[in-house]
């Protein structure tokens, strides 16, 4: 016998279920008067540095049907590639947003600024990207993915995470497509031929 390690096991995940809105966006679900506002609806202060962007998209199941009961959270750095909480971060960039997919048409929408390149562990830059986390009824463990910017081909080609993906044919599933007005379209496919790359980080 040997000594026992003091390690604990992570609590196992369970689905967020169909009523995730009650807990995470109660005002959106019609439960008003408990919290002043739903967390994560405002991502910027008065004077953030950087280009304003809107990210729009849907979460689609294996039949191509948009989920109308999903919830997404995003996390990103400021325009200089510094995360909120780190030294020198832009105080008007909160970095974190939360949005349910619309109960009628299944769309989500985030309004924020475009992040800068963030340093990887080895000091090389990662291309500008936004971390996405998706939960819903039928999703047993929250899904992590990233949205990169399709209009940053050079930075994307050098990105250490994108480079290590074996099936390069799938890399376009991680690209937010510019619509020309600061809007990026980012549909997330849970399944099917266009299945989005998800990360085990």
């Amino acid at each position: 016998m040997v000594q026992k390690l003091d390690n604990l096991k992570e609590s196992p995940s369970q689905t967020a279920g169909p009523y995730v809105h009650i807990g995470l966006t109660p005002n959106y679900s019609g439960i008003t008067g408990v919290y002043d506002a739903d967390l994560g609806t405002t991502m910027l202060g008065d004077a953030p540095k950087g280009d304003r962007i809107t990210i729009k998209g849907r979460v689609l199941d294996g039949t191509g049907t948009p989920l109308r009961d999903a919830l997404l959270e995003i996390w990103h750095a400021d325009a200089s590639g510094i995360y909120p909480g780190q030294d020198g971060a832009d105080a008007d960039v909160y970095g974190w947003g939360r949005c349910p997919t619309d109960m009628d048409d299944g769309t989500f929408r985030f309004e924020t600024i475009k992040p800068g390149a963030v340093q990887n562990r080895d000091g090389t830059p990662m291309a500008p990207h936004i971390t996405f986390w998706i939960v819903a009824r039928g999703i047993n463990l929250g899904l992590h993915t990233r949205m990169y910017f399709a209009d940053e081909p050079e930075a994307n080609a050098a990105d250490p995470v994108l480079k290590r993906i074996e099936h390069q044919v799938r890399v376009p599933t991680l690209m937010g497509e510019p619509q020309g007005d600061g809007t990026y379209l980012f549909d997330i496919h849970l399944q099917g031929p266009d299945e989005t790359i998800f990360f085990d980080i």
Partner: protein, 243 residues
Amino acid sequence: MTDKPSGLFHRDRSWHPAALTPPYKTSVKRSPAAAPISMPSTLSEDTGPVFTRDILGPQDADLIHNFASEGQSAIGPRIIVYGRVLDETGRGLPNALVEVWQANAGGRYRHKKESYLAPLDPNFGGCGRVITDEQGNYEFRTIQPGPYPWPNGPNDWRPAHIHFSIFGQSFGQRLITQMYFEGDPMIWQCPIVGTIPSREAIETLVAALDMRRTVPMDARAYKFDIVLRGVRQTMFENRMEGL
């Protein structure tokens, strides 16, 4: 030489539910078929939003009263739910935001898409939140939710449960799970509980009745600890990690 966090412990996916769990039917068309791409965490996952107590209202951690009319309270067995948010190294996590939601004592949710015939409680909303203290402790008051039927198999029922959403210190620690109640026979019948591969793992989601923490003539207490992924602490000799 500096002691700096160097990323998250790798997640043990065999301990969590698989994406595709056919007895839980909704997972069939909502589960990715490809394996997730493994990568060590980067600054993008090692950092995360920080929440401070100024977001909290005075009744956020009191579901018995936070939706009730003046002088009223929610119907149902009054309980205290308390515990700690820890990481895999056993460290209590301070300032962790814990958000909870649940059905009322009859098993009915206050939600547009909910159609169970059990009635709404006019004094129960079903959401609450709390931020852990310096040692990772949290506590809230609520009523014990009821079990409820749900459309899956012809006669599937959820055991009484409270949904939990937890933020640690890294966005990569983000977790949603559910708390069950000691002694509930419905736990072992439920296809959603059954997505968790082992009985050992399921038992970590069953809160223990704690009569010592009970407030006599008021509320019983259940203890529920939550464990998030650990953050590696390593000594580095040369290159810093950007944190």
